[in-house]
């Protein structure tokens, strides 16, 4: 009798396990999926009085998030039936892969434009052309670089929010006018100034975490400034082993010796050296400005070369369309990226808006960061949407590392990088 009770009990446990496995997927989904919930109804989007919940997955950080949350709170006040839920997952690629096919993904994805290609191919996001966004609307509202960044294969995939690019952030107390480069494309002048600076002050003029290798993003202004168009283009053609690239790397070795640059400086080392006055300039982006403000450095910003321009953008997901939330979600995206809200966010976070009207606003124009980073972004090359671009980071970083440490000659290293990227692209096809 007792034995059969035990048998029945264990059978019940087994049945429970089976049922939970076959039931709703959240219990078996990996822990990285953010707690997103579905909208309660599938009411047609034109009925604005029905309650709607919109989930946004984003990558906005700490202090930036405050100003951005204010915008969404205002929208909720204006539209009482809409609830906006912001969440920041840890591993967005993996989370999307699991959540979207299960119908548990977000409605809006706020990310960078270089993620558009892979998400479009996977089917996670939908083109905005089908939702009524036209090319005319884009070009009339947003900056040309931002527009280029969100269009891929002839379709519009996102609305741009802000642009970012790296530039030379210099210490005004150390680097006076005669040490500043005057022409962003004149690299010989930069070497001469670096030599002079070291002779006078015995510290290196500049620090760039991409020089020692392993960071194709930070070395990009040098490559593109010397005339390389892109590492990999939309069709998968690789242009890394070109005469322009060779000139760029020869310059790099030249300024390394003449400018007595730090040989092994990563992001933290460059930033610390800049803040403690051991280096005249840090070649970095808007994300470092908050630290420099805290360290009370009297900084100025000047563009150099042609950096990568990363465009933060908001995409519409397939789940939003399935749930019938597409119109509301798109309205929220347009609201967030309109001139008035972009101005508010730009002033609070010191970022560079993609909205043309916001960029022209006098308050934004007066931002200390705008002149330098904005000018740099205007010169820059947008980060590619195509997933082929994923193949460029490793080989370019490795090649620069081998060149910088002297392990390989520039010509050999660039040829090896070209071959490696071509192999990777061929495997992707």
């Amino acid at each position: 009798m007792k034995k059969s009770i035990f048998v029945v009990f264990s059978l019940i446990i087994t049945a429970t396990m089976l049922l939970t496995a076959c039931g709703a997927s959240p219990t078996t989904a990996p822990a990285t999926v953010a707690p997103a919930t579905e909208a309660p109804t599938a009411v047609p989007p034109t009925a604005t009085t029905a309650p709607v919940k919109i989930t946004i997955w984003h990558q906005w950080d700490g202090a930036y998030l405050d100003a951005i949350t204010k915008v969404f709170n205002q929208y909720m006040t204006d539209h009482p039936n809409v609830t906006i839920d912001l969440s920041k997952p840890n591993d967005v690629t993996a989370s999307l892969k699991v959540a979207i096919p299960a119908g548990q993904g977000p409605d809006i994805l706020a990310w960078t434009n270089d993620q558009i290609g892979s998400n479009a191919i996977a089917g996670n996001i939908v083109p905005l052309d089908d939702q009524g966004i036209t090319q005319d609307f884009l070009t009339s509202t947003y900056e040309p670089a931002a527009v280029n960044g969100v269009v891929w294969q002839g379709k519009i995939w996102a609305l741009p929010e802000s642009q970012e690019a790296i530039a030379l952030v210099y210490n005004k107390d150390l680097v006076t006018a005669d040490y500043l480069p005057t022409d962003p494309m004149n690299f010989t002048d930069l070497t001469a100034k670096a030599e002079k600076f070291y002779a006078d002050k015995h510290i290196p003029l500049l620090c760039n975490q991409g020089f020692k290798g392993g960071d194709a993003y930070h070395i990009a202004p040098v490559f593109f400034g010397f005339g390389v168009k892109q590492y990999v283009d939309d069709q998968g053609n690789v242009t890394v082993n070109t005469p322009e690239a060779l000139n760029a790397m020869t310059w790099l070795l030249d300024i390394k010796t003449k400018g007595h640059l730090l040989q092994d400086a990563d992001d933290a080392a460059c930033r610390t050296a800049f803040e403690s006055g051991k280096v005249g300039m840090d070649w970095t982006g808007p994300w470092a400005i908050a630290d420099f403000d805290k360290a009370n450095v009297n900084y100025g910003i000047v563009p150099m070369g042609k950096p990568f321009v990363g465009i933060k953008a908001l995409m519409l997901t397939k789940n939003a369309v399935d749930r019938g939330n597409a119109a509301v979600a798109l309205d929220i995206i347009k609201y967030y990226t309109n001139a008035q809200n972009e101005i508010a966010v730009a002033l609070a976070n010191k970022t560079i808006p993609a909205n043309s009207a916001a960029l022209k606003d006098p308050g934004v124009q007066a931002l200390s960061t705008l002149a330098g980073f904005g000018a740099s972004a205007n010169l820059g090359v947008p980060m590619a949407n195509t997933p082929y671009a994923n193949a460029q980071w490793g080989p370019v970083g490795d090649a620069v590392g081998a060149i910088w440490s002297g392990k390989q000659k520039p010509a050999d290293a660039l040829a090896a990088a070209q071959k490696a990227i071509e192999d990777a692209v061929a495997q992707m096809k």
């Binding site: 076959c22 290798g213 092994d264 994923n390 193949a391 490795d398 290293a413």
Partner: protein, 407 residues
Amino acid sequence: MAQVRGWRKVLTVLAFISPTLIGILIFSIYPILFNTYISFTNRNQFHPNPDCAVGLTGLLEPTCWAVFKKHAVTGLGTPFRLQTPLFGNYASLMGTFFTAPALLSVLKVAVCFIPLIVAGFINRRYSRELERPISAGTVNLIAVILGAIIFFGLSGLSAFNSILASSDFFTVFLRTILFVVVCIPLFFIFGMGLALLLNVKDLPGKTFFRVVLIVPWAASNVSIMMSLVFRFFFSETGTLNQLLHILNVQPVIFLNSSLWTFFIIVLANVWYSYPFFMVTILGALQSIPAELYEAAEVDGANWGQKLTRITMPLLRPAVVPLIVLSAIGAGGFQMFGTAWAINQGGPSQGAGVPGGTDLVMTYAYKQVFQTNAYGRMGAFAVIIFIMLFIATIASLRVSRVTKGAYE
């Protein structure tokens, strides 16, 4: 009647173990099977979605099951399919290793070890005799000299280099083996030395030292972050170079040299791992009866003889499994966190070749996350699984062959 009772017994047993069995099937066996299947396809960023019409895909892929099919995504990419040479992913990982020249080189290097194997046999044959014509040491010496002669005669160095050049995977694999071979003895020496010290009777401050010496073990849980401290210590503007600056010596760029970076990784790894060895050996030491040592002292044994003839054999049952587990675990063959934090796989040797201190796991990480190539990732995992499986089987045999002094 007996048969019915047999069936009931089987059913009862099944009912009790079925929750665990189902758990293992769902969470271990199924992912392994799925992963192995994917390793034969070209699934990557461009072919992320399945073609549910293909038999096995429809069976194994979750988004093809009726339950999930409702929300299945179809993007701009083409569905993934099986590779045309079915072993395509494996072949690209192995490079040109399984071609005639590379295999010939392997044969050449293997031939150099034959004298040592023969010497081992000879020693084992003569070890049971009371008198032997030639001593064990001389036999080993002759074997080493013969091996060296064969090595240079067959130009073994160029053969070795051609093995390394034939396949990146094997370069990385051999480097990881070297890493394990260097680390494990250091773990043992440090662990054993400290355990012997802590085992001394009436040691002043014993409790304090026991606590302090265990601290690195706690740090190993956040080994990636702690390894950044090691990295800072050796970086160009780090502690060591600042000390050298005070002594008016030019800064040494440690992280630009493969050898120094390897040394730093070994140092950090030894720091995290010796407490585990120390604690286990300490426990085992305290289980050795003191009478054995007293008897040895009466017989006139000195400290060295006590160590090698009494302590080591009695420690073997505790230490051998420990060594085996460390070697194939996260502190040995599967080392990732420390190696990555210190220099992301070492000073770059150029594009398309592994870095200076790329171990198996850091190499796999770089390969996979550059191109999101799930198929290749699967092939890598299967190859590592096979190697670790062989290593585990071999280690089990070694443990059984080794007997404690009581058996």
